[in-house]
């Protein structure tokens, strides 16, 4: 059982037209796999994450299929999706720190939520306490108000709540972005632990921080301007990226121990294209050092040996300068 | 009547007014703002009505054939085209139209002055408390709470009743000095949320003086919010002034809208069915204040993209 996404398109309605935030994305996530979704702001990764569970007011489903455990998810139908939410698809949102009702005791809120989802009872209660303990929180947390918890504690509570019903798919949307480095590590480890204990089957971790993905993900999917750029096992993405965008991305990461005098940090010059009226062909061509005339035509997504790429000029596998991330692992 | 307007102001702060306003808005380009502004029906409606009334207030007195307090017309006459008594006359034979436009003018003056003073004090107190924090904040907070709790209307009543001669300026100043607390509260909360942002720290590091920081960095980010706040204070001032005038504490030697209503009631205009005397003043106030509120809602939608209708 797993997740299969095929040619998913979700646009944002605006007064100026449709913003093609997610424009034809296909991938699979196997059971037990943690897939990282990386890319800069506006590349569509959050749209993808949100789209898989709940389209918000501005989002519009345009096309494509999402199949989870053999069953198609009716993401265009808000009411029909309700059966799948929480039980089969769940999310740890970006705003986890403020995701709890400030005027309700945490335990009470969870209880009321579970009851409306038809999942209350002693068994669940015990499981809840067990899992809280797992993340380092005592059952007394249930008697507190959110304001009495620290940011990290709230994050962990939300992670426990979201995975309480053992969903098939968990979407973790920028869950480490607002945390300090040590808490980031703890949260990332919790994700892995949840997977190892079977609380969740497939996980999609959305972040712009590739370093975190390296610690946690099995596979990394890099997105650019609403489309997929590259997909590969985490180690390979970092050690031998093929897509020019990925390569620039990886090489723009700082290395521990390397002085500025020895190696300057380069960003990627230019800016992502407007998704209101995206350019034809490869969307990266304006910034790509390898761009040719062929790139005026959109490159197909080619998958081989567990690696996927959408680039005409995809370089053969050549080891890039060993980055500190590989050393650290 | 509002010393604490109930409407669409929201922000992450404790009063209901503030809640509906949202936070400081990102400074979208002026062009974008104008484009949305023109497309927003509420804003257009609100501005149109307000401007229309303003023009009426400016031009009206020039068109009036008689002075507001002058006698000489037929007593209690219905509106007529004869002799310029377009809104009829009062029981004593005064020109209602003239009184009306005069009152309109006074209303705008009170609104602008009273609202302006209240906004000014509110900004002073709110910014300082929010920016400085600490003891300064505690003291200012205490002050705000005290002025907030005192039923300012009753206070105005007492003060104004002892003044023999009252002018429109005095009235505006009074109103301004008593309606600022909720504005101060709102601005304090907004300043708090901005003060922790990086650009303020940057300004601090660069050694700018506090006041410069407040006016150059913080206030511009809140400009839309400040403007909307001023609009509400403006409307509130008009309502308070009308109420004070109705009780008999209006400016001496002139006629305001509230005073028209007072005199009409005193002279049994209701029983005598002199509707042209008591209907226009209240209607005018309702129109001005109502359109200001609606304008406010429209502005909120323009400045806060989330609320925009698709």
């Amino acid at each position: 059982m797993s997740l299969h996404v095929e040619d998913l398109r979700v646009y944002y309605r605006t007064l100026a037209g449709d913003v093609k935030a997610l424009d034809g994305v296909s991938f699979d996530v196997a059971d037990g796999e943690i897939m990282g979704l990386a890319g800069e702001s506006g590349c569509g990764k959050s749209t993808l994450g949100k789209g898989l569970i709940r389209l918000d007011g501005r989002m519009r489903y345009v096309g494509g299929h999402v199949v989870l455990d053999g069953e198609e998810l009716p993401i265009w139908d808000d009411a029909a999706m309700n059966d799948f939410r929480f039980r089969h698809v769940s999310i740890v949102p970006q705003y986890a720190m403020s995701a709890l009702n400030p005027t309700r005791k945490i335990g009470r809120m969870i209880h009321e939520l579970l009851r409306t989802r038809g999942a209350s009872g002693n068994g669940v209660q015990q499981e809840l306490e067990r899992r809280l303990e797992l993340v380092g929180l005592g059952p007394d947390v249930l008697g507190l108000y959110p304001i009495e918890l620290s940011g990290g504690m709230k994050q962990r509570v939300v992670m426990v709540i979201s995975t309480l019903l053992d969903p098939s798919l968990l979407i973790a949307d920028e869950i480490t972005s607002a945390l300090d480095v040590s808490t980031q590590k703890a949260v990332a480890q919790t994700l892995v632990e949840f997977r190892d204990r079977g609380f969740v089957k497939s996980t999609i971790v959305i972040t712009h921080d590739i370093a975190v993905l390296f610690q946690v993900a099995d596979t990394i999917l890099v997105m650019y301007a609403g489309k997929l750029a590259e997909k590969a096992p985490a180690e390979e993405i970092v050690s031998s990226p093929r897509h020019p965008y990925t390569r620039l991305l990886i090489s723009s990461l700082p290395e521990v121990g390397v002085r500025h005098a020895e190696q300057e940090l380069h960003g990627i010059p230019g800016r992502p294209p407007s998704l209101l009226d995206p350019p034809t062909g490869c969307r990266f061509r304006d910034r790509c050092p390898l761009a040719t005339d062929r790139c005026l035509q959109e490159p197909p997504w080619v998958e081989e040996d567990g690696r996927g790429i959408a680039c005409w000029e995809a370089a053969p596998v050549a080891p890039a300068a060993p980055s500190v991330l590989v050393e650290a692992r | 009547m509002s010393s604490a307007p109930p409407t669409a102001l929201a922000a992450p702060a404790d009063t209901p007014q503030l809640k509906a306003l949202g936070g400081p808005k990102p400074m979208s380009s002026l062009r974008e703002a104008v484009h949305f502004a023109l497309g927003n029906r509420k804003l257009v409606f609100g501005i149109s009505v307000t401007v229309a009334m303003l023009l009426f207030a400016i031009v009206g007195p020039l068109l009036a054939s008689h002075a507001p307090l002058a006698y000489g017309g037929d007593l209690a006459a219905a509106p007529t085209t004869h002799d310029g008594y377009w809104f009829g006359t009062t029981l004593q034979g005064q020109d209602v139209f003239s009184q009306f436009v005069n009152g309109l003018r006074l209303a705008f003056i009170v609104g602008a002055l009273g609202g302006g003073i209240a906004a000014g004090i509110g900004m002073l107190v709110g910014f300082t408390a929010g920016y400085r924090g600490g003891v300064v904040d505690e003291v200012l907070n205490m002050l705000t709470n005290v002025v907030l709790v005192i039923p300012t209307f009753a206070l105005l009543l007492v003060i104004a009743s002892y003044l023999r001669v009252r002018g429109i300026m005095t009235e505006s100043v009074f109103i301004g000095f008593t309606s600022w607390p909720w504005a101060a509260r709102a601005l304090r909360a907004q300043t708090f949320s901005l003060v922790s942002r990086d650009f303020v720290d940057l300004a601090r590091l660069s050694g700018r003086s506090s006041w410069k920081i407040i006016f150059r960095e913080i206030a511009p980010n809140m400009s839309s919010y400040l403007f909307m706040m001023f609009i509400l204070l403006f409307g509130g001032a008009i309502l308070i002034a009308a109420t004070l005038d109705f009780i008999g504490l209006g400016p001496s030697n002139t006629i305001s809208l509230g005073m028209m209503m007072q005199l009409s009631v005193q002279n049994a205009a209701l029983q005598l069915h002199l509707w042209w005397w008591f209907l226009p003043p209240g209607l005018a106030i309702m129109a001005i204040v109502g359109s200001l509120y609606v304008m406010n809602v429209g502005l909120d939608e323009v400045f806060n993209p989330k609320l925009r209708e698709m």
Binding site: I147 | T15, V146, L270
Partner: protein
């Protein structure tokens, strides 16, 4: 929690002292002498008698004492419940005037405040849910809240009382009715109460409805609402939370709106000649009856402070965050 209360009491105490001081000081700062006004009324011809009367009144009103002593005596008599004597309605004491007028005003204010708050909140919450309802409630609410209290009173009085004789034009009760605890009298009281009450109710209702509607919309856009929605919680659970959270600032708003509706009550009484405090203040102002003005002001202050205190208690009960003592900022 104790800190919360102590803080509040301190502010109220401070406010009270300040208000009393202002109340006492104004007549002394203003030009004119209330005793002379009183004398003007009585019109004594003989200058020697006038002189004696003047001295007598000055003593009676303590106006011959040094200022600080007058201030002190003011407080003393305040605690004895002595608010002076009315000049217009001499020799009625101010206290007795207040005691007779207050029930009428409170009878208007308390039901109007509570009912408009309750109904306004309910309707506002409903409007936030249904677009159709919203399209009527919103403009209506704005129109009502922008209406000056006295004008609505005038309109209601004119249409329902003068033109169509559905309700009486004014006064607290039928002047020809015999007073007492009879049904007839109570009926008369209610009959005369209805229009002024309605006027107050409608204007306040508009404000609350709009406020609540906006609050609910704001709450429905909050992170916790989105999270619950993402986890598939039904709308009724989310709305329940949103409603409860939206109520909190509405309670604070109640305290803030007291001054406004108070002014509204005063002018409404004037329109209907309803024998409450507003009516008395009106007469006092028109006739320069300073002690009555002073006394009613104090009464109002005390009433508002008490009301604020009660609302603070209510807020404490309803918002769990205050109980944990972790309210950020200065609080209300």
């Amino acid at each position: 929690m104790l800190r919360y209360f102590l803080r509040k009491l301190f502010v109220y105490g401070l406010t009270f002292v300040l208000a009393v001081t202002i109340d006492w000081s104004i007549p002394h700062l203003m030009p004119g002498n209330p005793v002379l006004t009183l004398m003007g009324r009585i019109q004594i011809q003989d200058p020697k008698v006038a002189q004696q009367l003047y001295a007598h009144y000055m003593r009676a009103f303590n106006l011959d004492l040094p200022l600080w002593k007058q201030y002190w005596y003011f407080w003393v008599s305040l605690f004895h419940g002595d608010l002076g004597t009315s000049i217009l309605q001499f020799p009625s004491s101010v206290t007795s005037i207040i005691v007779h007028a207050a029930p009428y005003t409170l009878g208007l204010l308390i039901p109007a405040i509570l009912l408009s708050w309750y109904a306004g909140n309910k309707v506002g919450a409903l409007a936030a849910r249904r677009k159709v309802l919203d399209n009527t409630v919103l403009p209506l609410g704005y129109a009502l809240t922008a209406t000056p209290y006295m004008w609505l009173a005038i309109i209601l009085s004119w249409t329902l009382a003068v033109i169509w004789h559905v309700f009486p034009v004014g006064y607290g009760y039928d002047p020809t009715a015999t007073r007492g605890f009879t049904w007839a009298f109570i009926g008369s009281l209610a009959y005369h109460w209805f229009l002024p009450f309605m006027s107050l109710f409608l204007v306040s209702f508009g404000g609350w409805a709009i406020g609540m509607r906006n609050m609910i919309i704001y709450e429905l856009e909050s992170d916790y609402a989105h999270y619950l929605g993402a986890l598939g919680a039904p709308q009724r659970l989310i709305r329940k939370y949103a409603f409860r959270n939206a109520m909190l600032p509405q309670i604070t708003g109640l305290a803030l709106s007291l001054g406004t509706i108070l002014g509204g009550a005063l002018v409404t009484e004037i329109v209907f000649s309803y024998p409450g405090l507003g009516y008395q203040i009106y007469r006092a102002i028109t006739n320069e009856d300073y002690f009555v003005i002073q006394g009613i002001f104090l009464f109002i202050i005390i009433g508002v402070l008490v009301a604020n205190f009660l609302i603070d208690i209510a807020y404490l009960i309803v918002d769990p965050r205050t109980r944990t003592g972790m309210m950020a900022g200065g609080g209300s």
